[in-house]
Symmetry: C2
Subunit: 220 residues, 2 copies
């Protein structure tokens, strides 16, 4: 009768269900994000993810079905965070304050979720098969909106004349490079992981550069 209501365990949303299920699904997702970030989709093995999660390999298939489904789940978890943090960019806002806050938020995200950033970067480099819908719908719409705001700032003479879309490309690139290409940065700065103070310094450098680049600070 109500067969349509029944699903096999593998098809159930891993986020719902009992406490054990939720805990294990979270463990797996966290481990998967790390391993996919480090090795890419193809390079990552289910065995490696299972080991990182401290669970037997078969559990991953039990919870998520296939490797691809697990990967999609990881991406879904990341995307909203990746798109967010533009709410401060409004026509009424002070441009320097709004853009500064945006850059700081992106730098914080690179610091706190480098693996998430790397998963996205990897996906973009390799064709974004799973990401394209978000790019062409959500991201494009978001950038259209925020670009309109910046156009208003330009017309009001509150910011330098520039193409807002390319400004966003630069902002994303400058901030995400601290997550994605961390290794390059560490090699050049000649050491291990950046300390909090060093990262704070990096953030201030990027903010200052961006604000000057937008004509928002007195020349030094």
């Amino acid at each position: 009768m109500n067969d349509a209501v029944h699903k096999t365990s593998a098809e159930v949303d891993p986020a719902s269900g009992g406490r054990i299920r939720q805990r294990n699904a979270a463990l797996i997702l966290s481990a998967a994000e790390k391993v996919f970030a480090a090795s890419g989709f193809n390079g990552a093995s289910m065995a490696e993810i299972a080991a990182a999660a401290g669970l037997p390999k078969a559990n991953l298939h039990y919870y998520f079905g296939t490797k691809e489904a697990l990967y999609r789940a990881v991406l879904t978890n990341i995307i909203e965070l990746w798109l967010g943090e533009t709410h401060g960019i409004t026509p009424e806002a002070d441009p320097a304050e709004a853009l500064g806050a945006y850059v700081r938020a992106k730098m914080r995200w690179s610091r706190e979720r480098p693996d998430a950033s790397r998963v996205i970067a990897n996906e973009l480099i390799h064709g974004a098969a799973f990401l394209t819908p978000y790019l062409e719908d959500d991201l494009r719409r978001l950038v259209d909106e925020k670009s309109a705001v910046i156009e208003q700032w330009i017309e009001a003479g509150r910011i330098a004349k520039l193409d807002p879309r390319h400004l966003f490309f630069s902002l994303w690139a400058m901030t995400q490079t601290y997550a994605d290409f961390d290794l390059q940065i560490r090699a050049v700065l000649g050491g291990g992981p950046l300390s909090d103070a060093e990262y704070e310094h990096a953030t201030e450098q990027v903010v200052a550069f961006v604000l000057r680049g937008c004509g928002l600070t007195p020349r030094g």
Copy 2:
């Protein structure tokens, strides 16, 4: 007797040897760059590279031995191009001219060799196992040198006060994003590949942003 002089074919430098060898090696390297860029090291298969090169699979192993050796050969071909183009940055040069030329050169490289850029990006994201020596030696030395030049510009009041190393991180990120994350850019701009005119526009936007960010242009 002189066995030491003899090498198996697979061990011979593929760049040397007869005309056919050189032509085939070049075909393979070019195809490999494209496939590695699109799929990453693990995602790329020797069969796919062979098909792209129009040669039988066994030839790749005949010329380069292993998949890893082929990958190293691709990287080696790219690295010097990747490091180059900083020669304009000298104490005597005009900062705006030198930095503008550097940004334009990096933008040109993203336009003309996007696959090369993506191979490097992929390598950096995933641990840079093969690249680390270059990062810690050549790149670090290069950045040290050029940072000293920029420090001199700062002391002479010819450019805004900023941390030169973080400036380089930003310059690399802003320019390489047009190769590495091309898909994102196309989705936001709402179309297919950028035309020459669109790419020229992008280049001018980045150059203007960088020069303003360095305090090198009158405020707009």
